[in-house]
């Protein structure tokens, strides 16, 4: 073997074919559940390029990601929302590594196709409670939201503009998957999930006529999007960690971000 023990990684050589200098070490990352697919895919590729790197990602939630990056449990923490004021006080380095769209989803049986941001706010504040007000059938709207502290929820509330005014009537489902299952199971529900979780058991609504696609987020016509942020303590990063971040922010990494349904930063 010719592994580069403890050596420095001056340069990111991924993507070239031969004569690679590889790094070694362990990367423990974790945090947001929404970023899981992107993080796992990039870590996998990074570990393939650097076979002596072992990497793991624990999807325990955005706030947990920040907290554990601070306590040192995670070398790299991720959040699927902007870093809050009190979190900024921890003095962690932040880096946006991708953007994500949040899809507004309903049951495929639901006739409604489009919704406005204004209507979304009214629904989530409990001001609109019947689908017929949106041109659907005469049925109660079942509002599904995420747990408090979720990056997805934080971002959604911020963008839609009803922060902390969520109707008391909302059903809270834990995780993107539970939102998805809950919506898939009941034709009167409305919920929201990260783009990466859109599949055929549910239907994504167009927001103000714009389809929920990566392109539309990039050209800023689709309104509901948020950043994926990673945070770390500079002196807690090992060589592998540093090299990984470079890789993620580089061309290769961003290409994977896109493959996984995220929106690259450049």
């Amino acid at each position: 073997g010719c592994s580069n023990n403890g050596g420095s990684t001056e340069e990111n050589e991924t993507g070239t074919e031969t004569g690679n200098t590889t790094v070694s070490g362990e990367i423990v990352a974790g945090g947001s559940t929404s970023t899981k697919n992107i993080m796992e895919a990039t870590l996998d590729e990074f570990a393939a390029l650097n076979p002596d790197v072992t990497a793991e990602y624990n999807a325990t939630g955005s706030s947990d990601g920040v907290k554990n990056a601070d306590s040192g449990v995670y070398q790299i923490g991720t959040a699927s929302r902007n870093i809050k004021e009190e979190e900024k006080a921890l003095g962690l380095t932040e880096k946006i590594f991708a953007y994500d769209g949040i899809a507004v989803i309903v049951n495929p049986a639901n006739k409604v196709k489009d919704i406005t941001v204004e209507q979304l706010a009214q629904i989530y504040k409990g001001e609109i409670t019947n689908w017929k007000d949106l041109g659907g059938e005469d049925a109660q709207i079942v509002v599904v939201s995420r747990e408090d502290g979720s990056g997805t929820r934080g971002a959604f509330e911020e963008i839609v503009g009803f922060e902390e005014e969520l109707t008391a009537n909302a059903t809270i489902a834990e995780g993107n998957g539970n939102v998805q299952s809950t919506v898939a199971e009941n034709e009167n529900t409305i919920g929201y999930v990260s783009f990466t979780y859109i599949n055929d058991t549910i239907k994504a609504l167009t927001v103000e006529g714009v389809e929920a696609t990566t392109d539309n987020v990039l050209n800023e016509t689709y309104k509901v999007s948020r950043p994926f942020v990673m945070v770390y303590q500079d002196d807690n990063l090992n060589d592998a960690g540093k090299a990984y971040i470079e890789f993620l922010m580089g061309e290769e990494g961003q290409a994977i971000v896109e493959e996984e349904g995220g929106i690259p930063v450049k």
Partner: protein
């Protein structure tokens, strides 16, 4: 005289050494138990301590809204929901479980009992997540058809899922207790011309009471402590005392599990406080039921 004691032999040394090993293990066990208790209480009571800019315990225990973002941490509606869900689960699960136990222990032909018993035990081994998934896929879907609201997530759904989950505990504990009733009671009753059913209900079940109650205690523990299954079917709203079976509830455990990954600072401490409330709950129930058992027996 050769009966005299000799404390210095290898044998006595070994005896003593092992005695201390046993004792040490007992203490490890005890210490871990107390460490948890201490830790949970320490974290959970921290926000209420005077001198910290914490949270008022009264607001915490009587509040009707849980909006961490707005600094509103009220858990009264959760307490009420937990109590309703547990009580409902017991009201359904205990009788059904007890009667099933009676069937297995006293009425069923041996072969049938030998099939049902392990089958019911199997229910206890299924991870609770699957109960949740089952609850969401089947129970919630069915209830949706009858609910005045447009969804099936509700107190009733929680009750049903929990009732199913406590069944195996209640069945196997009750069955063991029924089997443990001295056959002299049964013989005494039958010899007096009582029928089998009379014997079961007038003598055997009363005599097995303490074992059955122990099963109920464990069942309650499971019902209150269950997290993953109810989370999927309770609805977990951020406010609102349930007033009907169709209302959503947010059980205490769910509150912890939902947000622990996301909470920090006082929000997290208050999740621990929720844990303390749960802890106290279980203690009170254990304690009262033990008292009831003791009183009935003496």
């Amino acid at each position: 005289m050769d009966l005299m004691k000799d404390n210095k032999t290898d044998k006595t040394r070994k005896e003593n050494f092992f005695k201390y090993v046993f004792m040490f293990c007992a203490f490890v066990a005890v210490i871990s138990v107390f460490a948890i208790t201490f830790f949970v209480f320490f974290r959970g009571l921290k926000p209420f301590m005077p001198g910290t800019n914490g949270y008022s315990i009264v607001d915490f225990l009587t509040g009707l809204e849980w909006r961490p973002g707005q600094n509103k941490f009220g858990i009264l509606y959760m307490i009420v929901g937990s109590i309703f869900a547990t009580a409902g689960a017991i009201a359904i699960g205990v009788p059904v479980g007890l009667l099933t136990a009676v069937f297995i222990a006293e009425l069923a032909p041996k072969r049938l009992a030998d099939i049902i018993r392990p089958a019911v035990e199997l229910l206890a081994g299924i991870p609770s997540v699957l109960y949740g998934v089952f609850g969401l896929g089947i129970i919630v879907s069915i209830l949706k058809g009858y609910s005045p609201y447009a969804q099936g997530q509700s107190l009733l759904a929680s009750i049903l899922v929990l009732a199913i989950m406590i069944l195996p505990t209640v069945v196997s504990m009750s069955e063991t207790a029924i089997r443990a009733v001295p056959s002299s009671y049964k013989e005494g009753s039958l010899a007096l011309g009582a029928s089998k059913i009379q014997t079961i209900f007038k003598v055997i079940i009363p005599a097995a009471r303490s074992g059955i109650l122990a099963g109920v205690v464990l069942g309650i523990g499971r019902a209150i402590g269950e997290t993953m299954a109810v989370m999927l079917v309770a609805g977990n709203p951020i406010a609102g005392i349930p007033t009907s079976l169709w209302d959503k509830i947010r059980p205490l455990t769910t509150n912890i599990a939902l947000e622990m990954g996301y909470a920090s600072g006082m929000h997290q401490d208050l999740l621990f406080s929720t844990g303390v409330v749960l802890f106290v709950f279980i203690m009170i129930i254990n304690f009262t039921l033990n008292k009831i058992i003791q009183k009935k027996i003496s």
